[in-house]
């Protein structure tokens, strides 16, 4: 065993280079992505035309959901599932929360946000406070409506079920994530309360329930386009356009790689990308 590990150490003797061995392909992939996105952002900044994002029904429905709650005089419940500050899905959910909070402030409708993560809780409270301020209704913001429950999944579920039963929200928004089993319970409970439900997540295992149980559902990557779509900000839209260009590239790489795999036994493209 000792001898073996010695041999292994020998084999790994430093090979000087720019990149950590095995990371060059990954770095180039990220670099191209970053350049594409950066170029698109710069075009947007310079005021040049940027392609538009096609209509996303699920995001249009957020306004409808808040409107319904206003008509019925009942609150809106917003959940991000079991978020974590470093999770991209959570980050994608922040602007949507801000948008919903602003809409709620304008319509004078209560927004209840439940959070199972302490760090995200801190951020959400800030976002909602700010949204009420921007809507000119800072007095309407009630810090008790942003509720930290606990970071334990089913303690969170238990707490939210209690809130849903007591507050009977007319609209429920499940956006971002990551979502786990709690999503289905919330959707079922929301349906039981007769709430209009808008969902969106990239947590694949929960997607069937979003598609089957919510009135509107965003699938996978669509949630990452949300902040650009909502703000209509050309710079953010630029990042989405950059992504789309990258997908073309992806297309080309897959087709090229498939051709190589079909006509040659040695797939140099795969080897290069993994280098």
């Amino acid at each position: 065993m000792g001898f073996l590990s010695l041999l292994a150490a020998e084999a790994k003797s430093p090979v000087w280079g720019i990149f950590v061995p095995g990371q060059a392909g990954a770095f180039i992939a990220v670099l191209i992505f970053a350049i594409l996105v950066y170029v698109m952002i710069n075009r947007a900044r310079a005021g040049q035309a940027v392609r538009e994002i096609h209509k996303i029904a699920g995001l249009e429905a957020l306004e409808e959901a808040v409107g319904r709650a206003t008509e019925m005089g009942r609150p809106v419940h917003y959940t991000m599932g079991l978020p974590g500050i470093t999770d991209p899905q959570t980050i994608a959910s922040f602007p949507v929360l801000g948008h919903v909070a602003k809409t709620c402030a304008r319509y004078d409708t209560r927004l209840i946000n439940t959070v199972p993560d302490v760090v995200v809780y801190a951020i959400n409270e800030e976002i909602i406070r700010q949204a009420y301020l921007e809507a000119g209704r800072p007095d309407a913001f009630n810090p008790d409506d942003v509720r930290f429950i606990t970071d334990w999944q089913f303690a969170y579920v238990a707490g939210v079920l209690e809130i849903l039963a007591a507050e009977k929200p007319a609209a429920q928004i499940l956006f971002g994530g990551p979502f786990f089993a709690e999503a289905m319970i919330f959707i079922e409970a929301g349906a039981l309360a007769g709430a209009i439900q808008v969902g969106g997540t990239a947590s694949t295992s929960q997607l069937p329930f979003f598609v089957a149980g919510c009135d509107y559902a965003l699938i996978g990557e669509e949630i990452y386009a949300a902040s650009a779509y909502i703000s209509k900000e050309p710079i953010l839209t630029g990042t989405v356009v950059g992504e789309d260009f990258y997908k073309f590239l992806l297309f080309a790489v897959i087709i090229l790689g498939t051709l190589v795999a079909t006509f040659s036994s040695n797939n140099f493209l795969a080897t290069f990308l993994k280098s």
Binding site: F27, A155, V240, I254, A261
Partner: protein, 209 residues
């Protein structure tokens, strides 16, 4: 009499009362006990397995001479300033650091996984077996269709290729979500089976086989 199993059985049945009425006092009680215990447990757990050793452990701790840990400890504690309204903004410092760090992790580590998925999508479209060839064609076309479904800036009815790709992609996504749903149903029943086995087997000793 195993008092532990009895206590567990009572808790199990207490939770099931939720099915009869979702606002009954038994459920309310068990749920608050449970939330309290859950958090109480994690206090003790963090304390003994991380926090205390960071200060007094015999390796890699303050007591072992790693005084530099004072910096992250203070940085971490800054997050509690959010409970003091006048200086609540200070809590943004550690949070911003955490956010940037997380973004760095995403760009630093996931691309390698992404590349692994990509290079496995180079299908051999002419294999030795007929079934293998057909499967690879299906794999390739449904993959391309699914990627097309997520183009945001091209209208889905822009041209026939786009139309066909999105059509195929949507079917493939529905098949995948159906498979996920079927599996999820079984998963939920497996967990319920485990609870029923606890009541009928461990507690009442009725399990056969």
């Amino acid at each position: 009499m195993d008092w532990g199993i009895l206590a567990g059985a009572i808790c199990t049945i207490a939770v099931w009362t939720y099915l009869a009425d979702h606002q009954n006092p038994i459920w309310e009680l068990i749920q608050h006990i449970y939330i309290g215990l859950a958090y109480g447990w994690s206090i003790g757990y963090y304390w003994h397995t991380y926090i205390w050793p960071t200060f007094t452990g015999n390796k890699d701790s303050l007591a072992a001479g790693q005084w530099v840990y004072i910096i992250p400890i203070i940085a971490g504690l800054l997050v509690y300033t959010r409970y003091i309204p006048s200086i609540a903004w200070v809590a943004r410092y550690p949070l911003s650091l955490a956010l940037g760090w997380g973004a760095g992790y995403v760009l630093g580590f996931t691309p390698a996984v992404f590349i692994g998925q990509l290079t496995n999508s180079f299908y051999d479209l002419w294999t030795d077996s007929v079934s293998g060839t057909i499967n690879n064609w299906i794999l390739l076309l449904t993959l391309l269709g699914t990627v097309m479904y997520f183009f945001f800036t091209i209208r889905r009815d822009a041209n026939p290729v786009m139309k066909g790709g999105v059509w195929l992609g949507r079917w493939a996504i529905m098949v995948a979500l159906g498979a996920a749903f079927g599996n999820t149903v079984l998963y939920r029943y497996n967990l319920f089976y485990a609870r029923m086995h606890y009541i009928l087997g461990d507690w009442l000793h009725l399990a056969g086989g």
